[in-house]
Amino acid sequence: MSPDTAMTATAPAAEAAVRKGPPGAARGRRPGRIRRIGLPYLLLLPALLLELLVHLVPMVIGIVMSFKELTQFHIRDWGSAPWAGLDNYTVSVDFDAPVGKALLHSFLVTIAFTLLSVGLCWLIGTAAAICMQDGFRGRGLLRALFLVPYALPVYAAVITWVFMFQHDNGLVNHVLHDQLGITGKPSFWLIGDNSFAALLTVSVWKGWPFAFLIVMAGLQNIPRELYEAAALDGAGMIQQVRRITLPSLRPVNQVLVLVLFLWTFNDFNTPYVMFGKTAPEAADLVSVHIYQASFVTWNFGTGSAMSVLLLLFLLVVTGVYLALTSRGRRTAP
């Protein structure tokens, strides 16, 4: 607490110094500088403390748990759980043994799911934003409509999809099978291999409006003159998008893709609401997998170790991504 008390103690002197005249005055310089440097930190303090409480403390506890053998015999008193050393980690990454193999499978499913979902979200969002760039009647209405999936509460939205995907009475089978006759017999969407497609559909439906919103905001910053000049030079729509829109959106896209990636990779709500505690193998996302691994074996140490591994992976991906994109930005004209 000493910096704060020092702050309040020196504040009157500093104020006097400011009142006295230009910052060149010898007596006023030091406290003034402390305040200049200190004030931002002081204002950040509440956020930092909350961040510490809400994020860092549970994270540290999770990391500690991952080194313990925290089973049902010990959950009542964590302190009594024996230290497991690196056992939880070796079990998780032993890809020849069942636990590690299942984790690897789930990890690969998640990677495929994330790449597809982020790619589609970005593509649809960007395409929609570009199409909506020029004013036309009903644009405002369409924009609002596009944002609905993003505004809906996750549970309500996903449970509606679950009803639509039901085998016997679902809307999807009704349209695909009964009306269009595309499938020979009604398909299962919530169990078996199709569950991947079902999950991807819901994820893209839920995620693309965010991409749309961000890209739309980014487009507002591109000067219209650029397009006019390009049009005069004979550039068509495609060329304008390629040569003007996309390069101008680069900084926006960099953040957008990263955020979408992290959200999608970590998404727990969508698969959990769709499939419950035990997801079908084809749609076994790593977040639900870890949850299930913790609660099937009641071994929260292993679950924590898996979570820590996931955290490390995401840190590496984020770090590499930021390093690559920021280098690109420096070399960009």
Binding site: D4, M7, T8, A11, E15, V18, L39, L42, L43, L45, P46, L48, L49, L50, L53, T71, Q72, F73, I75, R76, D77, W78, A97, P98, V99, Q166, H167, D168, F188, L190, I191, G192, D193, G276, K277, T278, P280, E281, Q292, F295, V296, T297, W298, N299
Partner: protein, 438 residues
Amino acid sequence: MRSIRAAATGAVMLSLALAASACGGGSSTGGGSDDSPKELTYWASNQGAGIEIDKKVLQPELDKFEKQTGIKVKLEVVPWSDLLNRILTATTSGQGPDVLNIGNTWSASLQATGALLPWDAKNFDRIGGRDRFVDSALGSTGADGQDPAAVPLYSMAYALYYNKQMFADAGIDGPPATWDELVAAGKKLSKDAKWGLGAEGSNPAENVHHAFVFAEQHGADFFTADGRADFTGDATVAAVKQYVDLMAKDEIIAPGNAEYAQNQSVSDFAKGRTGMLLWQSASANLKSQGMSEDAYGIAPVPVQSGTPGAGKQVNSMVAGINLAVFKNSDNLDGATEFVKFMTSDAEQRILNTAYSSIPPVEAAQEDPAFASPANAVLRDTLAKSAVALPQVPDESQFETAVGTAIKELFADAAAGRAVTTDSVKAALTKAQQQMPKK
């Protein structure tokens, strides 16, 4: 400048206040106490057709208890999908209810956490003694050789519910007594978008209950005598396959049932879409869905041959709900008092009638209310041919692992993939690998 300083000071104060209040949560001590003798929190499991119905059933009884003792009971009805996790969370944090319902099959698992008050002779004496309860119900209250972790509250057993009209229309004389007869009846019923039998293919717990009975009938156990998981024996594989084959080979369960997990099979039966249902104490649920009691019959769950009994003639698990006291309750005396009230003869009659279950208290069971033909089947089953699920610490893990394996087998069957001895064995092998190492 002044305003900036004020803002900064305010920010510091605010963050300190937040930090202080966030750390100010209750501290949990290991043992219980009698610090708040006038209040209890009770977590009830969802026994009625909906949570509101449970509240309607229970609240008048809790009011009665308050009148007798002056202790106010705060009721929360917890859905089955959340109950075990809620109990685990309460165990971990030490912040839980005083009295709670647990699925009786979880008794040994939760007993191992040490979170529940053991019912030793002294505690049993306070609620009228251990011998008030039926033996089969006491068999599902914790591991052998340890003091029970809970006392029985409601007892249930599986029975075969069949639609009388559909049976008559299909020319079936009476309820099937063996699985062969059940399959034959099912084939006669499965036509015109109607099906022979309903199942909850995506509900791990339901899957395990059926698989357990089939395993008993094949003479197989899921656990060795010393409590190790053993899911892959030939008899166990054959048992699980026989259950999944009702959909895969015999085709008397609609493929759509593979994704059922919200009791849709009960609705299907109530609406006459399926002719038979294997369920525990379904009467109250069927009534709430508008199916009158004359419309269906209740028979014992089939066996391979002969009549239900012990050993390979087992045809149900001992299903039911136990009542447990959270060890670090701050009203241990009141909690025990409440257990005494809930297991009293009078309350047992009222509650078990409301939930169409059987009282695990002997004196209450003799009440004529439980002598109806429907209840007679359940009572007989519990008395003669029901066995408790394994009472081992890993029981709840077993339910999830094996139940999920069967869920995936049903998914295969529904998608038209072959369910073979090998594929069943592979699924069960995977389930066994998920079990905690010994």
